[in-house]
């Protein structure tokens, strides 16, 4: 037998302290730390963040460094290919495509972020109130959301744009008219689930006020899914803007966005594909970046989903 060399002392009772016994089970790292560790491993999502940062810098710096502005017509220099003076070439009115691309980036990103932000605010408040108060309040708020959700989003936005005066803010407002519902549903689900959990019960029995519980417990705890939804709302808002602008009912001249640039460039696709190439690539790249960041966040926050 292999254990022959064991001594008497080995058979003395072992006094394990309770704390040691617990330790063996293994320590759990915190949720956010864990999520961040998983997110960092996701090369694609990190790549997405770098892309967004680069685009943001170029959107701000691009115009000034090009030495051109986005609106100046120089008909003599129309439809030029990329060159030393016009890095991305010029369009059919001789405007510098590089300068226009980054100016368009400002407009597209601004609208996308703004619309997502408004969706976030309305959605979080709506969903949190519905989920937190439950009962009749929930019933009414969610019924309204359901009815609005049943209507095709783009159709409503277009109809609203027919009615509203055309400017940047009405565009944003039209885009948020039903865009917040997704967020509201997610927040409501989270709040409903958290509401039943113990620590909320505990703080409630300690006499914490409703708003305090909302602010201190519910919103921080549903932050994960909210962030994911927000990140995935941005590309869809950017898409909607470019879609509407492409149709000629979104951003109006003299403003320019990636959507209007694509629309202007399309008729000459056969001869000057470069005019479409740049705005198109940047729309796709932006949407791609936000999508991979959103996916990465979702995977990182929800370890079960692999």
């Amino acid at each position: 037998m292999e254990h022959r060399q064991l001594k008497e002392i080995d058979f003395e009772p072992l006094h394990l302290k309770q704390s040691e016994a617990e330790k063996i089970v293994g320590e759990s790292t915190s949720y956010w730390k864990d999520a961040w560790r998983r997110f960092r491993k996701n090369k694609l999502a990190l790549f997405g963040i770098i892309i967004i940062l680069l685009l943001a810098v170029l959107a701000i710096m691009g115009g000034p460094i090009s030495g051109h502005n986005y609106y100046e017509n120089q008909l003599l220099e129309a439809n030029q290919p990329p060159s030393g003076t016009h890095w991305f070439g010029t369009d059919n009115l001789g405007r510098d495509v590089f300068a226009r691309t980054w100016y368009g980036a400002q407009i597209s990103l601004f609208i996308g972020l703004m619309a997502a932000l408004i969706d976030l605010i309305i959605g979080v408040i709506w969903g949190a109130v519905a989920g937190f108060f439950g009962g009749k309040v929930d019933e009414i708020l969610m019924r309204i959301a359901d009815v609005l959700y049943g209507v095709p989003y783009l159709l409503v936005v277009i109809l609203l744009l027919v009615v509203l005066p055309q400017n940047l803010w009405t565009l944003i407002i039209a885009m948020t008219i039903t865009g917040w519902i997704n967020m509201a549903r997610i927040v409501r689900g989270q709040v409903m689930q958290l509401r039943s959990e113990e620590f909320i019960m505990a703080s409630r029995s300690l006499g914490a006020s409703n708003t305090r519980i909302l602010r201190k417990h519910l919103i921080p705890n549903s932050l994960g899914p909210i962030l994911v939804t927000l990140t995935l709302t941005i590309p869809s808002a950017i898409f909607t803007e470019s879609f509407l602008s492409f149709l000629g009912i979104g951003v109006q001249a003299p403003l320019a966005s990636w959507g209007t640039m694509s629309s202007d460039a399309l008729p000459a696709l056969q001869y000057y594909p470069n005019q479409l190439f740049f705005p198109a690539v940047f729309i796709c790249l932006t949407m791609l970046a936000f999508n991979v960041i959103g996916d990465g966040m979702r995977d990182a926050l929800d370890p079960n989903e692999r």
Binding site: I249, L269, D295
Partner: protein
Amino acid sequence: MIKYLLKRIGYIILSLFLIITVTFILMKAAPGGPFASERASTPAIEAQMNEAYGFNDPIHEQYFSYLINAFTFDFGPSFKYVGQEVTEIIGRSFPYSLILGLEAIFIAISIGVLLGVIAAVKHNKFGDYLAMVIAVLGISVPSFIMAAILQYIFAIYLQVLPIARFESFAHTILPAAALATTPLAFIARLMRSSMLDVLNRDYIKTAKSKGLSERVVTYKHALRNAILPVVSYLGPLVVSILTGSFIIEKIFGIPGLGSEFVVSVTNRDYTVIMGTTVFFSVLLLVSILIVDLIYGLIDPRINVTSKEGNK
């Protein structure tokens, strides 16, 4: 069954009533009537036109006559195209959109489901990564850019397919593919996660424990259950194809209902806007009903004929 259908049709009529009312209010609230000054017409002519179209009647009378007309599907003449009835415009343009839409739906579902299944079966292997790269690209490339890319590659560069218009089957391939891109990618992702979920279910273990082959387990047991979320997505799919047609028909110069709608919006051709909106709504409500009926066929737990069909 009959009772269920009648109930559903009742809801459809109710929803339509709401939609018609809301569009009426919206159009009344629109700035500058249809005959407002941007056109070279004198105020006198404008007043005359308003009179002719009944715009000077009290608002509730306008509403009721509009309501009656809408339910008999009579939206009157177009403001813009003299002598053309809205119904005529819809009847003329819808067939194009229908063919295009059905083709796109077919492409999106067949390829989307295929990609999703491959990804799930080859989970965390090359096939999975490839399918998901295609899917995330599909979600990130807007349909109008996809349209331009397809036009450039197949019509301009390779010259194998016509660039625009709608004259033969070949003409429909590019627009249908462009229209299908985003929903295809969406379905692929949906199918993948649903399939992964189903493959972990106990009944898949049961099927394997009977000695069935991997293939039978995947295609006979898993697929039918995993496809249910895709069936629920058919409603949103129809919406996506429909709104996508606004832009795709414009790019490909197809005289379908989508491009008529966009033209009417830019022209503020109110009768056409209202007519197409109501028509779109009917289309969607009916497709949702059909989707629910299909769902009931695939999932025996949903019994459309009785109320207690448990989920």
